[in-house]
Symmetry: C3
Amino acid sequence: MTLLGGLDYASVLVFAAAGSLAASRAQLDIVGFAFVACLTAVGGGTIRDLLLDRSIFWMANPTIILIAVSVALVVFFTAHLLESRLKTLEWLDALALSVAVSAGTGVAILEEQPAVIVVLLGIVTGVMGGLMRDVVCNEVPLVLKQGELYASAAFAGACATLLATRSGLSPLLTLAACTALTFALRAGSIRFGWSLPTYKSRPPRL
Amino acid sequence: MTLLGGLDYASVLVFAAAGSLAASRAQLDIVGFAFVACLTAVGGGTIRDLLLDRSIFWMANPTIILIAVSVALVVFFTAHLLESRLKTLEWLDALALSVAVSAGTGVAILEEQPAVIVVLLGIVTGVMGGLMRDVVCNEVPLVLKQGELYASAAFAGACATLLATRSGLSPLLTLAACTALTFALRAGSIRFGWSLPTYKSRPPRL
Amino acid sequence: MTLLGGLDYASVLVFAAAGSLAASRAQLDIVGFAFVACLTAVGGGTIRDLLLDRSIFWMANPTIILIAVSVALVVFFTAHLLESRLKTLEWLDALALSVAVSAGTGVAILEEQPAVIVVLLGIVTGVMGGLMRDVVCNEVPLVLKQGELYASAAFAGACATLLATRSGLSPLLTLAACTALTFALRAGSIRFGWSLPTYKSRPPRL
């Protein structure tokens, strides 16, 4: 298995868990859990692959779907053991975001895309799965939560990967550092309220 | 016309009617009816074809769009004759779901996809059109309604088609049986409240 | 630069501004502005290109993304100077819709699609970017606003382009006339309340 393939697996695993928790909050049955888990797990990567006109990563490798479904089954029977499903969802989503940004950026670099596209595909791979999950589950998308680093964390991670690759760092180190940076920013935002200044309307919203 | 082509037509017809009823509930004008009817009618199959990297079924055959638009026109002028548009929408959606799951599963088998992908594409073809309709019309997606068989009915139908094909049943019988099974499960859920156990939070939702 | 390429640029510019205003209403940070601006700016054209199995227009030309991001930066720092961001958003969206319908119709004619598909792709290119913006930002989609010409204006513009092309008008004149017609209808609807009769439920909604 290649490094990038491994990252796709890892992000599927964690996003599937976050998706299943969202399904638990919507009180779905077990097939609903599997559906939302798959949508969240492969959503971002699917859009990346469609845009790159590559074969979709999970069509060539159905094991990925089986992983997402297995995670959904496990969460269906164990989610009640968690103290707060909302908090757990948020942290799992942060982890999955970080891994997926690395995976997306890495694939785009491998396909020799220009820098702007590399960064954009990194962000798309990271945020789109969670965005579709939230739209389908009728929740306010995490990416839109005011005063939180989300797209911004993905942006920083994707830029860092690009720079590290250009400066000749080894792929393993690059991807590990990128994941760590994205996660650190997102975690700082959840835990300590780190944020960028948001737009404030002056005068108030019309 | 092939059997699978015929199924695509049938699902377009019924989904277009369901989409038009959703448009009537949103009080759109006649072009809005046609827009929502087309989105609902071809949405699921379009995603299936994009994932399979096949040519989109209605691009090669614009008659399909004309059918959806004609249905929208008819519904625009006749929907007020219905006793309950919501109930009718639900039943039409059930029928369209059943037909579309067969069509999606059939195409994926024809393209010689592995079993997991066949089942998944069956579900995607069945539920995505209605899901996009509900997201665009700002309604809670039917696929998320608690305590109803929806994705589950699609899952059962797709699995049955796969098994029947593997055991050598004729395509016509297979597709008819799959449609009947999906519809029976969905209908039982609407009419008699059949359902799978849903996730219940213990302790309550946080 | 070709005429159609120029239209794509123009619609990106105006849609990015409309998207940034939507981001300002959701009080996002600067990366959030850029994200929503890009989604709105390239959303419709991306779906058009995926359906036509063409290379995505902005993947081949990352300048387009840079334009959308630059617009987002400018709007982030200047939006408070506007008297009403909602009104400005509506008018920018009307302008972008008109340009994008021309661009979409023009590309579909160039690809020698049948008439039905040309009109449909014109509408899709025009309305999908704004629709995704509204779904992601949790606003009621403009395309669904009762008693307004929106999809209808796009439909009229796309039909006019098709007719003008078939009757041998020069491409420049055709596209200009199409943009003007779509904009005139949409503007008349915003300013003077022009509309088509909408569906009214008799008896009331059930």
